[in-house]
Symmetry: none
Amino acid sequence: MSTTDTQPRRSIGAARNPDSHAAILAAAEEIFCESGYAGFSIEAVARRARAGKPTIYRWWPSKAHLLLDVYTRLKSSRMPDPDTGTLEGDIRSFLTELVRFWSGNTGGVYKSLIAEAQADHKAAEALQAYSIERTQHTAGMFERAKARGEMRADADSLAASDLMSAYAWKLLLTDRLADQADIIDKVTSILVRGLVK
Amino acid sequence: MSTTDTQPRRSIGAARNPDSHAAILAAAEEIFCESGYAGFSIEAVARRARAGKPTIYRWWPSKAHLLLDVYTRLKSSRMPDPDTGTLEGDIRSFLTELVRFWSGNTGGVYKSLIAEAQADHKAAEALQAYSIERTQHTAGMFERAKARGEMRADADSLAASDLMSAYAWKLLLTDRLADQADIIDKVTSILVRGLVK
Amino acid sequence: MSTTDTQPRRSIGAARNPDSHAAILAAAEEIFCESGYAGFSIEAVARRARAGKPTIYRWWPSKAHLLLDVYTRLKSSRMPDPDTGTLEGDIRSFLTELVRFWSGNTGGVYKSLIAEAQADHKAAEALQAYSIERTQHTAGMFERAKARGEMRADADSLAASDLMSAYAWKLLLTDRLADQADIIDKVTSILVRGLVK
Amino acid sequence: MSTTDTQPRRSIGAARNPDSHAAILAAAEEIFCESGYAGFSIEAVARRARAGKPTIYRWWPSKAHLLLDVYTRLKSSRMPDPDTGTLEGDIRSFLTELVRFWSGNTGGVYKSLIAEAQADHKAAEALQAYSIERTQHTAGMFERAKARGEMRADADSLAASDLMSAYAWKLLLTDRLADQADIIDKVTSILVRGLVK
DNA sequence: CTCTAACCGAGACGGTACGTCCTGTCTTCCA
DNA sequence: TGGAAGACAGGACGTACCGTCTCGGTTAGAG
């Protein structure tokens, strides 16, 4: 469903209309890319998507849920999950790719999600659940390093994953995603030395 | 100036009224403690402080600036700046104290500041300036370790400071400030090993 | 069909389901008695009657038609049509009984019908048709008085009927149905003197 | 302040802006004349008047109050208050003039007011107060007839005024304002005979 | 005895309007 | 001139209904 379509969609009956669902997500993404978080309102999304506000509220209980959906939709270009064979390569690759991944609109959406979570309790829960899932997944990178015998067995993979992503968060939240090759190197160096045998 | 005062303050003439300034900050802090970021609006602060909205806008160009003022005001209980004599002690102490420092309302204010910065460009600048200043200050902790010969000379103090505080930010932003002694230990361990000779 | 029934009614095939019809009218009446015109919506009636909205729209093209049905249903306790033998007795009896008849929920329904007719053209037609029929019927009261030789032959029965019921309408629409015995006497007196030989 | 002005009005400070007040009333009247009660929403008035909704709600607590203001504003062409020297002339003139007065948009506004009063309690109070005041004022017409010795002393002036205006209400509410000269004559005749000595 | 047409409940849909809250600007009046 | 006060245009919020539509299922009656 193109958002440039000026003909209103009709209901398809008592079942959820996938066209509406798609149009709303597309409109949300477009508005975000054009106007950022400041211009991102349910009202504006509804207008752009030619959808009724209640239709949005029916399926996304809060702005944060809609943002989260937009974010996961943007992840079609996959999240970094490197496996270079060395811990140092994995960490550097993870940070570099995540920074690149966030450098487009994706980062803005994620930032807004974090911001939204500070005001809205529901958003906080959704973000926390997502964040935990990601941290656990990324911990696999460190588990592989342990299996290779490269990483200390007594170093906590979850803590390492958490720490590494924390640094990415801070770069994102303080608008320092651009030109960070050198500082990523330095942080990678600290992390690697902190984790290897 | 008590906020329970029912007599309106009058202008004291062609000079800034320090009573108004204090009343506004006090009201802002109170509202934040009672209702959090969600209830924190210029309107509400003005109402509580018995001040006119233009008076607030005159002295604080944005909500973020007011938040920042509230935050620095809360820092009368000083920020952590440990000097235990060992790198491990310093790092553990820094994280522990920062977590404790943020556990009250202070953390909420700082979170909101970070959130606000994602939507408001002015807030972003203010936060970034503050954050850089803090990171540089905390880097001194690592410089002392280098001076003691405990830390590698080729490890970047700013990067270390940035990484450490990034972890604290993430704990704050994902509501995990409570009961983090064990995970702080694990992260401290990684950092220390990553930095020592 | 009780509205407390928790089992949904199914279609009975290619014919109108009288159970649904009855349930909708019952629900409409209940809602009106409980919440008045303000709470009276097609949505609410459908919910209460466990009916689909299209079922209601199929049989009652507008809210006014439903209201009119509810009203005529409430008229099982018959409308006043006195025949006391004297014009004065008839008029006083008509007004008194109509006021009493309207004093329950019936009056509220009729008021709402009049109100609805001001916004909705279809409602206006339905009300006008009903009103004309009633006025003509009541005119019979005056025709009987003429036949008795009590009323002037040149006084218009329809006009008299219209004027008398107009007064009842105004009492209804200005919430003055209660305790109107004295003012009804005064009006009756004017009307009688205006009509007798 | 012309409503065709496309430049937004600015606030004139801490005092009520008479331009806004006038623009809102003008817009309300225009919308009513164009679209009738059905299209008359606070939203539409605000849009047309280039006013914020809160500005309207600040000064008119309900739609009915706004309607009442529009109505009284339309009364610049004065309400009928005949003094022809005879009771019959006064009554006929009152009804005829009121019907003519209501034949434009004014009648529509008053109808809507009556309708609104059936749903909204506040509207009901406002209408009742207005209606009582009008009835009392019109009763003066009958008092003059009594003073002339034309009308029975024991006929109640208020009841007469109430009855007469009730008939006008019914004509209004049943859309029978046009071409009512003959029926007005008949009703006038009944009323006159009912009131004279 | 099958097929079809109309009915039923349910509920999603695009919309409109509601009444409230807040934003940032502006003006008036007081000290 | 600074400050309290508060009106202003504007816009987003989340909710309630509107009237329309489709769905899946049911049954009566037409062929």
